[in-house]
């Protein structure tokens, strides 16, 4: 097979992003992008260039029933594994993931992005800035490390305001069908789940008991079936762990 002309590919990528590539040609091109990260990157670059155009769209109020309908459909989404409020806070939306052909390519861009490039530090800072009030001064820290003592993630704890902040974006992604679950290791007794780790930054409130245990305990991450341990205790190997230490 001959190599496609790069200029033509760039033109197609631009037309895909603009929307003038349509019908069967659009679907063929989507299949092409799926198997070609470099081409996907080109499309992403083009989409990014054109993204600001969305700000120029006129604002027209949709009818109230639109939101009501979205709320209803979300309510009808398959229930997640519930293990208390924290698990719910953590819970990742479940439900069928549409195929590329039906969902459009945009949803999978994170996939090849995640493969090589370091992630969401900015988002973490933002999130902390926005939602952690008062501004977080970590009272404690924990460095999560693997079995070879190689650090993989820093956890900040503000035990005055009962909040845990973690950027999980540098943790290796769990294999398909598996989840990474975060646990409190209290000074005494069984590990307690803090829920399944999201791919990016995380900031969550702790209850008093969790904060008290963390002040003198540790944190661990185990590999679990998708959605988290079915038993409420770690079932898979503990991949990372670290003791909680005072920050100063």
């Amino acid at each position: 097979m001959t190599e496609p002309n790069p200029e033509l590919l760039d033109q197609l990528a631009a037309e895909y992003a603009l929307g003038t590539l349509r019908g069967p040609a659009r679907r063929r091109f989507e299949r092409l992008i799926e198997g070609d990260p470099a081409l996907a990157r080109r499309v992403e670059d083009w989409a990014q260039r054109l993204d600001p155009l969305a700000e120029g769209a006129p604002a027209i109020e949709p009818p109230a029933r639109s939101w009501a309908e979205i709320e209803r459909r979300i309510g009808a989404a398959p229930p997640r594994a519930r293990r208390g409020l924290l698990a719910l806070l953590f819970g990742r939306p479940t439900g069928p993931v549409p195929s590329l052909a039906t969902a459009g390519l945009w949803y999978c861009l994170g996939f090849w992005r995640r493969a090589g490039l370091a992630g969401a530090a900015i988002a973490l800072l933002l999130f902390v800035y926005l939602f952690v009030a008062p501004p977080p001064t970590p009272t404690h820290m924990a460095l999560l490390a693997d079995a070879a003592s190689k650090p993989v993630a820093m956890v900040s704890l503000d035990l005055k305001h009962d909040r845990l902040t973690l950027d999980a974006s540098r943790l290796p992604v769990a294999e398909a069908g598996k989840s990474l679950e975060l646990w409190i290791l209290p000074p005494q007794g069984n590990p307690r789940s803090l829920g399944v780790l999201p791919a990016g930054p995380l900031s969550l409130p702790l209850d008093r008991a969790a904060a008290a245990d963390l002040a003198h305990g540790g944190l661990a991450v185990s590999l679990e079936p998708a959605g988290g341990s079915p038993t409420g205790l770690p079932t898979g190997p503990v991949l990372y762990s670290g003791a909680v230490l005072p920050a100063s």
Binding site: Q11, A14, E15, A17, L18, G19, T20, R22, R26, E44, W46, R49, L50, D51, P52, L53, A54, E55, G56, A57, P58, A59, I60, E61, P62, P63, R65, S66, W67, I70, E71, R73, I74, A77, R80, L88, R92, P93, V97, A103, G104, L105, W106, Y107, L109, G110, F111, R113, G119, A120, I122, A123, L126, Y129, L130, F131, P198, A199, G200, L202
Partner: protein, 181 residues
């Protein structure tokens, strides 16, 4: 804290399954997305459907948004436009337009003017668009804001298909040159 960073933070919260954040995101962006959808599908019922599908997709896939690579609104607009194209393909391109809608349709040329109120990226794009000649620029904007194909743009502007193709392709190349420097 700009609107764009606020929206990105909402998306981050939605990725963790926060329904309140989804509602805040909806309140902040639905009118603009609905306006964009109306411009493309030109029927209120289809625009509502596209909007709902978009927010369902955002609910399921918010974790895939990358704040380092584009704006939250832009990312949502990409999903929305894809939904619109899918809807039109499904219902047939000749689905009758809502006559009232045709009246109310915004002038695509107004888009870049509104960009002047946007963020830094929007302003930059506006400056680059302003460097294009009137008709090529209009062709490109008709394609984006009204989802028109090359054929439809040609019919609308009353020029040959080949002319529209080369206008749009040349405009894209010039935009790239202007934006990437």
């Amino acid at each position: 804290m700009s609107d764009a960073t606020l929206l990105a933070a909402f998306l981050a919260a939605v990725a963790r399954g926060d329904r309140t954040a989804l509602e805040r995101l909806y309140r902040a962006t639905a009118p603009q997305l609905f306006g964009l959808a109306l411009g493309i599908v030109r029927r209120r019922d289809l625009a509502e459907e596209a909007l709902q599908e978009t927010f369902m997709a955002v609910w399921r896939h918010a974790g895939r948004f990358d704040a380092d690579r584009g704006t939250a609104l832009g990312w949502m607009a990409r999903i929305l436009r894809n939904e619109c194209f899918d809807l039109m393909a499904k219902r047939g391109r000749d689905a009758p337009l809502d006559p009232e809608m045709a009246e109310a349709l915004p002038d695509p040329a107004a888009g870049p003017e509104a960009l002047a109120q946007g963020g830094e990226e929007a302003l930059r794009l506006k400056r680059c668009l302003d460097q294009l000649e009137a008709q090529p620029r209009a062709s490109l904007l008709l394609a984006y804001y009204q989802g028109l194909t090359f054929h439809q743009v040609a019919a609308r502007l009353g020029v040959p298909l080949g002319t529209v193709k080369s206008w749009i392709r040349r405009s894209l190349v010039r935009l790239k040159g202007c934006l990437d420097t």
